[in-house]
């Protein structure tokens, strides 16, 4: 290993390190401000200046590569003086008075009552007080007297965007937010605007973040060393007492998050690895540092849901906090004893097939396992399913089997990919962190091929877009394989995009071009999403994907929708035959065969629920349907309050521990299932912790997969009565049975466009529909009204809408709960 001489001490360093990294590897601290480990170093702040023998002046340690035998001094009188001057200049554009005030400690005790000011004018009314890197640096550099007075910019504080406020009067222009936005997230929302002394951080044309299509991932807030950017929701909570490492419960990427805890409440969320220890936080006793086990796969990143959507979900004022029973037509709060006694009396009458369980794919594996065991063993019913959102297809058992056997390539393999194929997925909305890796790979030169019926946002960024008729993916992939087999001579692929072909059928040219790309750019990673798993031809498409992956020796990444789709499949909380699946259960309720329904984090929007003799609802929130029809409501503890396991799409079982005590009288889902089983006198439910359940689950033989008759899938051909194929994208703002957009302030502004239906220009002309008109889409099951938008990205007879499963849709009623497509007719609403 090469060595470097640091302050007269010869120490080894990892080859490829900068002088700064070499110093940190050896425990030598050099002050920094613009440096952040997840960002490219730019040497902008000049606090990390060092002396290096043989180099003129004072090079910055973050941008100087360490070399074998290099002699470096990090702490000399000249460097200390230089750093004090540099920091003084930086602070002269920051309201610094409290930083160098000798009455600061006494004042803090008094000013704490008026700290929640509209505008930050000093440390005492700054949300970052106690976690600010400038505060740490002033002590570290030894700055006690400021030679310069404050040059205050006097800019208005930006408070109109959701989730975080921006006060650029506090900004010291380190550029971390700009770099994380441009180089890491690759969204390009932020940039330096203006020049010279007028330089500021801002957006294109200084528009609001909403207007410039910001994803609100929060990365800029995470890396900001000052209080310039701060969460609205936890702005005045101050320094957390402790932090707890956990797993995001929303999507199947399984990002590791640090929950900030104060007074037994979650007061903030940061993606693991995003906050620097110099913020004075991660070194706190009992802090996340103790939980760290290697670099988190999200590498300091999260998305709007994980970053800004958890505190309010856990502590929402309308969360169900106590068990409730229906008495005299109303739901009345009661004790667990009474609720369990009531159910122990009622449930035995519904043993057998008149009982059904629908479980959310957001449940932990332990909870899903305990619930399905309760349904199958105690209630003796096979009516168990989870809307892992598998459609009612003839080969459902095979599909479950395929998905359960899916072994994903690691998420990080995307970064090494030279070509990426995305089939039936919109990762920017559904799995934003995976989308970041795709953008990073693209920036490093990887080729992107997108298979999608519509020219989606991702398709526009792709090297090749392969438009496909819904349900015809398998045929397209076979065509691609044939083209690959023909492709023999490697050459330079063209970047030219293919225009929308007439009739939506793929052009031979595009397929050939894709084949050429794939042949010349290896390794390849193939991602697929709900467009594949929710299609009627899911099994055929999966086979085709694996055939293609075999040809290319490509890795395959399944972008499952919910956080624990794989875990719930593995725990057996899923139907294995057509009659007992979600649609079968819904039909059973409708025709009266199913009389008792147990909903664990799931809520079909069905009027038929009123026919049930017993409806048990176990969740965080009460939807209007529940309030109307439920006989018993059991309050489930949220992910922050329980221990459990979520299996991400890579198949990685991620265990997590409770971060806070249960809110109100809530209990873990597995605990409720076990308590019910015991109340009914069943054996085998004496778990004392989630770990007990996990141990039993881990030792289980996987439940056998049903062998349904193999029939060819019915192709979804348009019919005369329903001439349009409507693509229904789940907008990812659903969690358990709730819509995040209903409970989290600001989330409704965030691409949850549930009112719109997109139509091709050609169809719109034919239907005499103009932009903004009201249109009615009618399926054989029901109808819904939308605002029409004209889109050049859709072929004729294809329409597109984004829906929130938690809000349900009349289009679905009684059919295809998991389906991505349905046949509709579209009419202009004239009245």
């Amino acid at each position: 290993m090469p060595t470097i001489t640091l302050n007269n001490l010869s120490v080894p360093f990892t080859p490829g390190s900068s002088v700064l990294e070499a110093a940190r590897q050896n425990g030598v601290r050099i002050p920094t401000l613009c440096y952040h480990p997840i960002l490219k170093s730019v040497g902008a702040c000049r606090l990390c200046v060092v002396e290096v023998d043989g180099l003129r002046g004072f090079p910055t340690a973050c941008t100087t590569p360490a070399a074998d035998g290099m002699v470096v001094r990090t702490d000399t009188p000249a460097l200390r003086s230089l750093r004090r001057e540099v920091l003084s200049l930086i602070l002269s554009e920051h309201p610094y008075t409290c930083l160098v005030c000798d009455r600061h400690d006494r004042c803090a005790e008094w000013q704490v009552t008026i700290r929640k000011a509209a505008v930050t004018t000093g440390c005492e009314n700054c949300p970052k007080n106690g976690q600010c890197e400038l505060q740490t640096l002033v002590d570290e550099v030894g700055l006690s007297l400021m030679p310069y007075s404050i040059s205050y910019r006097g800019l208005p504080v930006e408070k109109k965007d959701p989730f975080f406020d921006r006060d650029y009067n506090l900004c010291i222009l380190c550029g971390r937010c700009v770099r994380v936005c441009q180089d890491v997230r690759r969204t390009g929302t932020l940039a330096f605007i203006q020049r010279g002394s007028q330089t500021l951080v801002g957006t294109a044309f200084d528009k609001s973040h909403l207007e410039v299509d910001c994803e609100f991932c929060g990365s800029c807030v995470d890396v900001c060393p000052t209080g310039a950017l701060y969460d609205k929701r936890s702005k005045w909570e101050g320094v957390p007492e402790t932090t707890a490492r956990t797993v995001c419960p929303y999507c199947s990427v399984g990002c590791e998050l640090d929950l900030w805890i104060k007074r037994g409440k979650v007061v903030g969320v940061r993606p693991a690895g995003a906050v620097l220890p110099t913020g004075g936080l991660l070194t706190a006793p009992g802090g996340a540092a103790a939980n760290t086990d290697g670099a988190p796969r999200n590498n300091g990143m999260a998305c709007v849901r994980g970053r800004f959507g958890l505190v309010e979900m856990v502590h929402a004022p309308d969360r169900v906090r106590h068990p409730m029973l229906r008495k005299g037509g109303r739901l009345i709060e009661t004790s667990w004893e009474d609720a369990l006694a009531f159910l122990a009396e009622k449930l035995p009458a519904y043993r057998g097939e008149s009982f059904a369980l629908l479980a959310s794919p957001h449940l932990t594996s332990e909870s899903a396992y305990a619930l399905q065991k309760f349904a199958r063993q105690v209630m003796g019913s096979g009516n168990v399913d989870s809307p892992t959102a598998l459609p009612r297809i003839p080969r459902i058992g095979e599909l479950v089997d395929r998905l359960r056997a899916e072994r994903s390539a690691p998420l990080r393999s995307l970064l090494d990919a030279r070509s990426i194929v995305v089939i039936g997925a919109n990762p920017r909305l559904s799995h934003p962190v995976a989308a970041v890796y795709i953008r990073q790979a693209q920036a490093a030169g990887a080729r992107l091929i997108v298979v999608d019926p519509r020219r989606s946002e991702l398709a526009k960024r792709a090297d090749v877009w392969l438009p496909v008729k819904p349900g015809a993916d398998a045929a397209l992939l076979q065509e691609l394989r044939q083209a690959l087999a023909r492709e023999t001579i490697p050459g330079e692929p063209s970047n030219e995009q293919h225009a929308l072909p007439q009739g939506g059928a793929p052009q031979g040219g595009a397929v050939a071009q894709a084949a050429h790309c794939l042949k010349t750019a290896s390794p390849c990673v193939i991602l697929y999403g709900s467009g594949v798993t929710h299609s009627l031809a899911a099994v055929e498409t999966l086979d085709a994907i694996h055939d293609l992956a075999g040809d290319l020796q490509a890795g395959v990444i399944p972008l499952f929708g919910a956080a624990n789709t794989l875990g719930v499949l593995d725990a057996g909380a899923v139907a294995v035959d057509e009659k007992q699946n979600y649609a079968g259960i819904v039909q059973g309720i409708a025709n009266g065969e199913i009389k008792a329904l147990y909903l664990a984090g799931e809520m079909p929007a069905l009027d038929e629920l009123m026919k049930l003799e017993l409806l048990i609802v176990q969740d965080h929130f009460l939807s209007p349907n529940v309030a109307e029809y439920a006989h018993a409501v059991l309050p489930a503890a949220s992910f922050a309050e329980v221990s459990g396991t979520l299996v991400n799409f890579e198949g990685r079982a991620q265990h997590f521990a409770p971060a806070i005590p249960p809110v109100g009288d809530t209990r873990p889902d597995w605990w409720i299932a076990a308590a019910l089983a015991r109340a009914l006198g069943a054996d085998g439910f004496t778990y004392s912790s989630a770990a007990d359940v996990w141990q039993e689950l881990d030792e289980q033989e996987r439940p056998p997969v049903g062998q349904a008759a193999s029939r060819p899938p019915s192709a979804l051909d348009s019919q005369a009565d329903y001439p349009f194929t409507l693509l229904l994208e789940r907008n990812a703002y659903a969690y358990r049975s709730s819509a995040l957009t209903d409970h989290i302030k600001g989330m409704e502004l965030c691409k949850a466009d549930e009112e719109s239906l997109y139509l091709s220009v050609e169809d719109a002309r034919r239907l005499a529909v103009a932009e903004g008109d009201l249109v009615q889409a009618t399926s054989p099951a029901g109808s819904a009204t939308f605002l029409a938008h004209l889109s050049a990205d859709l072929p004729a007879t294809l329409a597109y809408a984004s829906i929130n499963p938690a809000h349900g849709s009349q289009l679905f009623v009684g059919m295809l709960p998991g389906s991505k497509v349905c046949l509709v007719k579209i009419d202009k609403v004239t009245s």
């Binding site: 309201p95 610094y96 008075t97 409290c98 005030c101 009455r103 006494r106 004042c107 005790e109 008094w110 000013q111 704490v112 009552t113 008026i114 700290r115 929640k116 000011a117 509209a118 505008v119 004018t121 000093g122 009314n125 400021m146 007075s149 404050i150 205050y152 006097g154 009067n169 609205k232 929701r233 936890s234 702005k235 005045w236 909570e237 007074r263 302030k745």
Partner: protein
Amino acid sequence: METHECKTTTAGHPAGVEILEQRMLVPNVNVLTVRAPAIARKIQPGQFIILRADERAERMPLTVSDWDREAGTVSCVFMQVGTSTQKLGVLEPGDRLPTFVGPLGHPLEMANFGTVVLTSGCYGIGALYPAARRLRELGNHVIGMVEARSNFLLYWVEKYRSVCNEVIISTFDGSKPGKKGEGPVHLSDLLATGRKIDRIIGVGCTFMMYETARSTRNSGVKTIVSLNPIMIDGTGMCGACRVVVGGETKFACVDGPDFDAHQIDWELLLSRRKPYMEAEAVSIENW
């Protein structure tokens, strides 16, 4: 006491008082001017009003910073430091306040004392201005000491210059036109010169008034400060604003708000400002 608290309206007359001007003077510090002729006729230096920003907002006491008896207008300088003050800060001219009650509290004692030093900071710069004007009219030699962290937080300096014999501006960072350092330190320096001072009045944040009390304690000069404890009704009913002065429990609303700074139990005052801090944070995060 006059009240503009009207829930019912006579035909054609909307309820509440009308906002005529709303302006941020410096970050967090706003001046709000309303039409309230009955209050404008009677208000004296040191008195306050209680208002609500909207029908669901809490009652909030603000010292009156200026008035025009003929035009019937009243102005308050307030600082945006919580939900209610920020609610107030976003209202615009033409909006109406459902409650605007006053004048409340005793006026500051006004007489020809000789030489009077007025020390003020943040919202207190505005709150003490009427006293400066009146004391000068009564023939005092008025020394206005205005403090701010930095010059970007200074306001009404010209107004002070127009009514004071001397104005001493201090900024913590030495930014012009300030003298570097804190106001109470400059006050100590002034007292140390041996110059005869007959009365000192301080208005500002609790810490600044506490520091003023500390720096004048040994001088023997009578020092008056205007306290700002949590207050609800402003008429002596709720008792939330009680403070201990000279060993006796007083209500800031009806016995004050001005008290002898050297008699105040400052530790108790501080602790009584803190009980709702958690709820205050929740309130503003959910606003």
